[in-house]
């Protein structure tokens, strides 16, 4: 086994700020093999790929290529060794031509050597022909379609004589025909002895293209199987099969009137279509789905960042038009965005100013800011939520991730919202702060706030929500009550599989996983 391993990762460990992303992961890729890597969002796939391509360094373990241990791989070194990666979003330089894009990183001629344009174009054309792409070498990369750009990237990888090719969800935005074409290229590469690591959420395409599959969950390798020996059902089971590890402080709340209602809401620019959803006072609705399925996009529609171009949004039964965040805030909607460090708080600003930023109107006395009132509010919220800060005048940058998130939340609670949208509220924060934020949510719901919670963590969705809406491909694909929701059902819906009448994911005849 090990002697024909092209690339092997042994006992890889990596943690970010105390959170384990990978725990003793071992993985092996043979030459001439397509090895699928699957797992939920946050299972550790990306981290593993980043370690193999040298983008991040592992804390422990070793990577071997042809039995040789690689020490301190840099992205450049990885490339030279023949490890290439192609991501979901092609990373070409849009203003450069196809030939130039292919030449970058391939030609080793030094900065001052004269460019041999004829040779450069000939080489590009040759590589493109190898992947069977009919693309003009002088076309600007930015003008190509997504699948064409992918082929250019594969051509570049070929030119680099890549022996390990990593493909991260390459078919996510491809049509059926383009997918088939891509598979043809992959098979051809496999025949040439290239080892391919293939990451995909589309489990149904694995039998068509992969030889083996490795399932990651919570930073651990759960199993590596031969593709003919597993079915989709077993794979889903392997991906989620964990019990709820945390106890969620969910409380029974008597639900009030419908506060937020979406009727056939869509926005073509964001790829969100025909969304029907309602949230009642005191209710927490979890919004599950894969990254890129349209969860954050839906939130940005409701909050007026990208106004809806279709359908109707109702607040307490009245149709409202929300075209800017300011209007959303005025209507009582609050949105705690996903990318906390970038958009949830303003890092160089003081804690107190961050807390009051969305409610400056409330601070006015005779048109001017009332600093005493600001201080009172800031002291009140820092105390209530236990925000650990040297002072309310310290910049938020000095706080830990969990405390920054509490500041971001406080900012919105000061506005006394009737609808609170939380986008990945506990992503990347430690367990203690996580529990505090969960109990805060429970309390807000008990006070009658309607909460829409986007989360990639299925236990969080299951533990905190009264209902779970699963979004797939820009549409609400399924709605599960708290009682009937299970990890495998949510995941099946998120992957785009209809549930059968018994509520089981389609394709399973017997033995419904709990």
């Amino acid at each position: 086994m090990t002697d024909n391993a092209l690339l092997s990762a042994n006992d890889i460990t990596k943690s970010y700020a105390g959170v384990d992303a990978l725990k003793h992961v071992s993985f092996e890729l043979r030459s001439g093999e397509v090895h699928a890597l699957i797992g939920e969002n946050g299972a550790g796939k990306s981290t593993l790929i980043k370690i193999i391509t040298g983008a991040v360094e592992s804390d422990g373990g070793e990577i071997k290529l042809d039995g040789q241990t690689l020490k301190h791989i840099s992205p450049r070194a990885a490339k030279q060794l023949g490890i290439a990666a192609i991501y979901q979003q092609p990373a070409l330089f849009p203003e450069l031509t196809v030939a130039e894009n292919i030449a970058i990183g391939l030609e080793q001629r030094g900065l001052w050597a004269r460019i041999d344009w004829r040779e450069r174009r000939r080489h590009a054309a040759e590589l493109l022909a190898q992947v069977g792409a009919k693309i003009a070498v002088d076309a600007e990369a930015g003008m190509l379609t997504m699948p064409q750009q992918q082929l250019v990237e594969i051509a570049r990888a070929l030119g680099a004589e890549a022996r390990v090719l990593i493909m991260d969800e390459p078919t996510a935005s491809l049509s059926e025909e383009d997918t088939q074409n891509l598979f043809r290229v992959i098979r051809q590469l496999r025949a040439q002895g290239v080892g391919i690591i293939y990451i995909s959420h589309r489990l149904e395409e694995l039998p068509l293209i992969a030889d083996r599959v490795t399932v990651l969950r919570d930073g651990c390798v759960i199993d590596t199987r031969l593709i003919p020996e597993v079915n989709r059902q077993q794979l889903i089971q392997l991906m989620v099969g964990r019990e709820l590890s945390a106890v969620f402080p969910k409380r029974e709340v008597v639900l009030g009137e419908v506060v937020l209602e979406l009727r056939n809401v869509g926005c073509a620019a964001l790829g969100v279509h025909d969304v029907n959803l309602s949230v009642r006072a005191g209710e927490i609705v979890g919004l599950a789905g894969l990254v890129g399925a349209g969860r954050t996009e839906l939130a940005s529609i409701i909050f007026g960042l990208t106004p809806a171009d279709d359908g109707e949004i109702l607040l307490r039964g009245h149709s409202v038009k929300i075209e800017s965040p300011a209007q959303a805030i005025a209507s009582g909607i609050a949105y705690v965005p996903e990318d906390r460090r970038r958009h949830g708080v303003i890092l160089p600003m003081a804690v107190c100013r961050n807390i009051t930023l969305a409610s400056l109107d409330r601070l006015k006395s005779f048109g001017f800011l009332d600093f005493r009132r600001e201080k009172e509010i800031a002291v009140d919220y820092t105390r209530r939520f236990g925000i650990k800060t040297p002072s309310i005048f310290a910049p938020v940058a000095n706080l830990s991730g969990g405390n920054q998130q509490k500041v971001a939340l406080s900012r919105w609670l000061v506005t006394k919202p009737s609808v609170l949208i939380l986008d990945e509220p506990t992503q990347g924060i430690d367990v203690g702060a996580k529990a505090e934020i969960h109990s805060l949510m429970t309390e807000l719901a008990a006070q009658g706030t309607a909460i829409l919670m986007i989360s990639s963590e299925l236990p969080e969705i299951l533990g905190m929500s009264d209902r779970a809406a699963v979004i797939h491909d820009g549409r609400i694909f399924g709605m599960l009550d708290r009682a009937e929701a299970t990890q495998s059902k949510i995941l099946a819906l998120a992957l785009g599989h209809e549930l059968t009448e018994t509520g089981a994911p389609a394709g399973s005849q017997t033995g419904q996983p709990g």
Binding site: L305, L357, L360, T389, P390, N398
Partner: protein, 323 residues
């Protein structure tokens, strides 16, 4: 607030104090009443423009067209006075004209989302050459007698100009701190997307700041024009550089979000004094620009050094410990 949050302003002030002490030792005559009055008068218009520039830089933009706007406003003020517009009406007219020019910048930068450096570079040449074409280089002469010093007499007029400039500085400094709009300026400059998510419309903030700057340029031009019997058509050349340099020396971050008007006052004072100070110390004034350049570089270097120190403090657990 603690002095620690104003490190950059404090270091600029220390540099200014050091300069004054040095000049005081070598050439005590520097501190004569006439000299100080001249310094104050010459720098009052720069200060007014720098107040606007501070806000522009706080939102993360730049306006290099202020010098040309200044020339246009000066000539417009002269023409209006000559055509018989009363002295009382002169001020609102010139302010409005300046605001309109600033609003045009604001429209292109804030709404159309063009880069401010290019927009204002275009405006710098457009206004300057447009003015040259219209005036054919001629100065505005034969102004009504009550134009100079607003007809208030030189002694009082001089006081008025300096006091107005200082009042504007203090007023804006207070407003930046005490108005929601002031808070919004800092928020947009720190992180425009985060500000947008907090319900602030960065487009309006940027527009407003450019418009205000135009109005302040108009005020500066008028207060400067009334000092003389004629209005030159080539006023304000290099004014944008003086204003930007003063703001940067005063500790504002050129990337936006950090800076104070107190710092800008110190910056204007430091850069405005150095030339005269050199002359009094018997150093060839040709060195003035070189030394000003050195001061700007020193300010930028100390900014980076202070920034790194703060970064270091940021990862020092002692500072993030419990309250």
């Amino acid at each position: 607030m603690k002095l620690g949050s104003y490190k950059r302003e404090v270091s600029a002030a220390l540099a200014f104090a050091a300069l004054l002490v040095l000049v005081g030792f070598i050439a005590p005559s520097f501190f004569s009443a006439t000299n100080l009055r001249d310094l104050a008068l010459n720098n009052a218009p720069v200060l007014l423009v720098a107040v606007g520039m501070t806000m522009v830089i706080l939102v993360g933009e730049i306006d290099i067209s202020v010098g040309s706007q200044f020339a246009v406003c000066s000539v417009v003020a002269g023409w209006l006075a000559k055509s018989g517009v009363s002295i009382m009406l002169l001020l609102p007219c010139v302010l409005a004209f300046g605001a309109a020019m600033g609003a045009f910048n604001g429209l292109l930068v804030g709404r159309v989302r063009l880069p401010s450096i290019i927009v204002t570079l275009a405006m710098l040449t457009a206004w300057r050459d447009g003015l040259r074409w219209v005036t054919q280089g001629a100065w505005v002469e034969n102004l009504p007698p009550n134009f100079q010093w607003f007809g208030l007499g030189q002694a009082f007029g001089q006081w008025l100009i300096v006091i107005v400039a200082l009042l504007v500085l203090i007023g804006f400094s207070w407003l930046l701190r005490n108005l929601g709009a002031g808070r919004a300026i800092y928020a947009v400059g720190s992180d425009a997307e985060a500000a947008r998510l907090a319900g602030i419309d960065p487009r309006n903030v940027v527009f407003g700041v450019f418009m205000l700057t135009g109005a302040l340029v108009g005020l500066a031009a008028l207060l400067n024009a009334v000092r003389f019997a004629v209005v030159p058509s080539n006023a304000g050349i290099g004014l944008e550089l003086k204003a930007i340099a003063a703001v940067v020396v005063g500790g504002a971050a050129i990337t936006g979000g950090r800076g104070t008007l107190a710092g800008t006052l110190i910056g204007v004072a430091l850069l405005g004094t150095i030339g005269t100070g050199l002359t009094f110390m018997g150093i060839n004034p040709f060195w003035e620009k070189a030394i000003q350049g050195g001061i700007i570089l020193a300010a930028l270097v100390s900014d980076v050094v202070l920034g790194r120190l703060e970064q270091h403090g940021r990862i020092n657990p002692a500072r993030t410990a419990a309250p």
